[in-house]
Amino acid sequence: MIPPISAATVSSPISLPSAVTATPGADPASQERGVDFGKAVTNALENLQSSQSATDALSEKAATGDLKAIEDYMVMATETQLATQLTVAVRNKAVESFNDIMRMQI
């Protein structure tokens, strides 16, 4: 397969760890939902971090004049922007649902 032009492509920042998608009853210890959501958020932030450092490297190249193609930077910066917004949106939704649950009358 031919590698894409941009330095790195943004893979889905929200990827659930395998425990969430595992078949029920496979391993009861890894079925704890609380831990899994934390893992998902950590994975998302790690992916976001790598995407942002790729953009940083390209913007450094742009500043030093080593950038070979302006579209590489624009694509990477836009992908990082969208990935950041997506991660923030998911985080906001998660906090919102947590608050809804906490406000629930028992």
Partner: protein, 136 residues
């Protein structure tokens, strides 16, 4: 692997191809009057070979890429110009075998195609941003 924001990198690859074509046209235009003596090859026109990034049957590809650059005719056009310092004993010099109007046409095609890719990029980004506003 299908990336999350695939259309952005696909249009980026298209922009890369057309940028290379504009570069090649710039090289051709810069050398449109490069004259050589008859015992040397003429300036060879630059042709950019574009190729699709296939992802196998049944799936969308990954855009386009520059497969290589090919050179045109080294024979050129023999022109009678006895006053030229590079002229041989018969008064002939070698001009590159290309026409400026062809190059300008290619330049416009490449520029418009680059702009089309930028438009797709902007539309895709707007679509993704609208998608992020769902339920907000």
């Amino acid at each position: 692997m299908s990336a999350l924001f695939n259309s952005l990198s696909i249009t980026g690859s298209g922009m890369g191809v057309y940028k290379t074509w504009i570069d090649a046209t710039a090289d051709n235009v810069a050398n449109v009057n490069t004259v050589t003596s008859t015992d040397e090859p003429a300036f060879q026109q630059r042709f950019v070979l574009a190729s699709a990034n296939e992802n196998g049957a049944g799936s969308i590809g990954n855009g386009a890429r520059v497969a290589g650059v090919q050179f045109g005719d080294a024979e050129g056009r023999l022109v009678y110009d006895p006053a030229h310092p590079l002229a041989d004993e018969n008064g002939m010099v070698r001009h590159p075998d290309m026409v400026l109007s062809d190059q300008m046409t290619n330049l416009i095609i490449a520029q418009r195609a680059y702009q089309a890719n930028v438009t797709v990029f902007e539309r895709a980004r707007d679509a993704y941003l609208r998608g992020l506003e769902i339920g907000r």
